[in-house]
């Protein structure tokens, strides 16, 4: 629900928006800037080295939107078109900063394949239950335990920041911004199959980080109880 609300924050349909932008309707432009800059800025930071660079990429993107709106052909949604402009602007900037190598590099590389869960978590070959969990993953607190949620989010943000660029870019678009695989294919020019490899690994890493975090919280709680 929340994700839907963010995807479509009560914006008028594309044809209406495009017409208003072409008529130099400032309110329409302000509406788009306010609705999309959050997501765009998050994505920009996946490509460039600093917050300052990301802010400039965002600025340049919107300026390119102003310049390019008359030529927009409606072959994709307006939002996808704006995101593509951001990705291209950010890539150029990232390459210049030596942060990313030119674009072919979004495709998965060797380290993106292979087990995403530590093989030691499973019983060895030869065991009667080979390939099954040695021990089940520990139970997590329910998502409703709101007291934790701020810290949990911070942990997730840190986990995403630590991912390799290509994994971070894909998980940001798919899971944080809620784009479909087809939309991400259009934005990044990355096949659905390649996206899935990166997304799968990225999710497994973020989950593993939360697992470590919850285990630490749990140990602290148990330790605290033992002392008191």
């Amino acid at each position: 629900m929340e994700r839907e609300a963010r995807r479509a924050p009560g914006l008028p349909p594309d044809h209406d928006l495009v017409e208003r932008l072409r008529d130099r309707d400032e309110a329409a432009f302000a509406l788009l800037v306010d609705s999309w800059s959050g997501g765009l800025s998050r994505l920009a930071r996946s490509f460039v080295a600093t917050n300052e660079s990301a802010a400039e990429v965002l600025q340049d993107t919107w300026l390119a939107v102003i310049k390019g709106i008359d030529a927009f052909e409606g072959r994709s949604s307006l939002k996808t078109w704006v995101y593509r402009i951001l990705v291209n602007t950010a890539k150029r900037r990232g390459v210049r900063e030596g942060r990313i190598v030119p674009m072919s590099s979004l495709a998965p590389i060797d380290e993106d394949y292979g087990p995403t869960v530590d093989p030691d978590r499973f019983l060895d070959a030869g065991h009667e239950w080979a390939g099954h969990w040695r021990e089940f993953p520990a139970l997590w607190p329910s998502p409703e335990q709101a007291a934790l949620s701020g810290e949990v989010r911070a942990e997730v943000v840190a986990a995403v920041a630590d991912l390799p660029d290509r994994q971070r870019i894909v998980i940001t678009l798919r899971d944080v911004e809620g784009y479909t695989s087809e939309e991400v294919r259009e934005i990044l020019d990355l096949s659905v199959a390649n996206q899935r490899v990166l997304l799968h690994r990225a999710r497994a890493r973020v989950r593993a980080r939360l697992e470590t975090y919850f285990a630490a919280v749990d140990a602290e709680r148990v330790g605290g109880e033992a002392v008191s």
């Binding site: 600025q59 695989s181 899935r196 973020v206 989950r207």
Partner: protein, 78 residues
């Protein structure tokens, strides 16, 4: 048709959530999760992870940057 092991199951989770498994593999996946509490929990934790990712607050733009964009828009000549 053989049963899935847990270490195979965990590698199919994203394809399953994307609805991208072929019917036979999806059947094995669902059979496995029905029978294995550990994998049921793993799948649920992946879901919880994506839900948390989807609830991160958007970043905001500085007022200054916003103003300068609106200025640029205003000054944009045909």
């Amino acid at each position: 048709m053989s049963d899935l092991e847990c270490n195979e199951f965990v590698e199919l989770v994203t394809a399953f959530l994307d609805g991208a498994l072929d019917a036979e593999t999806e059947g094995r996946f669902v059979d496995h999760v029905a029978a294995c509490d550990g994998c049921d929990r793993y799948l649920d934790q992946i879901r919880q992870t994506t839900q948390t990712l989807g609830s991160l607050p958007p970043e905001s733009m500085s007022d200054e940057a916003r103003e300068s964009l609106l200025d640029a828009f205003r000054n944009w000549k045909r």
